[in-house]
Symmetry: none
DNA sequence: GTGGTCTAGACCACC
DNA sequence: GTGGTCTAGACCACG
């Protein structure tokens, strides 16, 4: 379910967070679903439980999941996550537009390519 | 000319590269212009010369500048840099569109916001 | 009657204690009233009996309730509980005032806000 | 400088955060002051470097300090910290007032005691 | 069994 | 030298 790319320069715990949050926004993991336990997921993908623990901690801090000692970890309300993901996308987009203007990419080219990419995505 | 943000989480040498390449794409630094020497730039912005050296090495490797032994470092042909910056932007855009579709941001919203951002940039 | 918030980070037995003591200070549960048995309450709120047992033990230790072998658990004299709750509040208040002085919150601001909060509570 | 209370139930890293943030709000540590390195502080108070690392990470996340790889950790702008501490105090106060009304502590008693505590603090 | 904290020791990127 | 990540193994509180 969760694949780690060891060539990726980002830390493992960050990749784990990304993979799980992806599953949430995709709707695969729904609210109050129980996540695999720290130890179990650690064994599954053959990494140290502490690393998973850290990933889970990050997600709890950011409000994506909630953990109960002795019970397990569960998916939280997804609204907040969706919104923060959207916000993040628009922030990135703003920076990208800024860079685009610097290298003389015009509005038209930018949105044409965007449309094209949307088409490709829809095709999947 | 070059400002380092120590609170920025990226390594300093990367920031130096970015600042210089920015000056190149903006046309401030033109082809075959000589860059300040490693030591000189290091002193100017109060940074370890090793860090500047690494920044210059990275840029030479990527083809943004070229070095002549005993003479110094110079701006290379800017076409290649411009093109790679453009490529990079479109790669990022592709990823962004992919993420956008996941959180149900439609084509229309996406390009409307893009246009808006372009307007804001033009206004500066 | 008793609601557990699994997203609350405090242990469940502590929440149970708080809820019951709340009912006591509010006057809902009066002196010598019998509490539901451990098993019964556990079933009611779908919780492990061990957890309820621990909550009851804590309250007996602190003197909020008393148990009679073979009969059950009962609300103790409420005076002591009321007094210890009051004491606790003033201890917290003292710490809070100390912190307030550190960040330059003056007496006036502090009591103005307090009055405001009392008004809001009264309005409920 | 920093004292750990092993009888305290809170985790060590949390105590470290509290102690340092206290020094910041008290004005002992000023903006851009360099903190002791992770390893050095760990040796000083005889705890594992990882624990200090975690404390520093928490503070960087919350914006109290900023860290630069290869250089060290530094005190950030203190405004944000002061504000969040103030906010925290008023949140606690609100909860305290709510509890006070439950046990029949009136506005007058509450603010009288508060004033008294402020006097005591001022006397230190 | 669960999550959370801590230690010990290692490696990396950066300066 | 610095901060940051990871592993291995231990212990605790909770259910």
């Amino acid at each position: 379910m969760i694949i780690i790319d060891y060539k990726d320069r980002r830390p493992i715990y960050e990749q784990v967070v990304e993979r799980i949050e992806d599953l949430i926004v995709k709707g695969v993991l729904k609210e109050d679903t129980q996540l695999p336990s720290v130890r179990q997921l650690a064994m599954e993908i053959s990494i140290n439980p502490n690393t998973i623990q850290r990933a889970y901690s990050e997600m709890e801090r950011s409000g994506s999941i909630y953990s109960v000692k002795g019970k397990g970890s569960f998916i939280a309300h997804t609204n907040k996550l969706m919104q923060s993901k959207k916000d993040q996308i628009f922030v990135t987009l703003k920076g990208l537009v800024k860079d685009a203007t610097l290298v003389n990419i015009g509005v038209n080219e930018f949105i044409d390519v965007s449309k094209q990419y949307f088409l490709e995505m829809g095709g999947n």
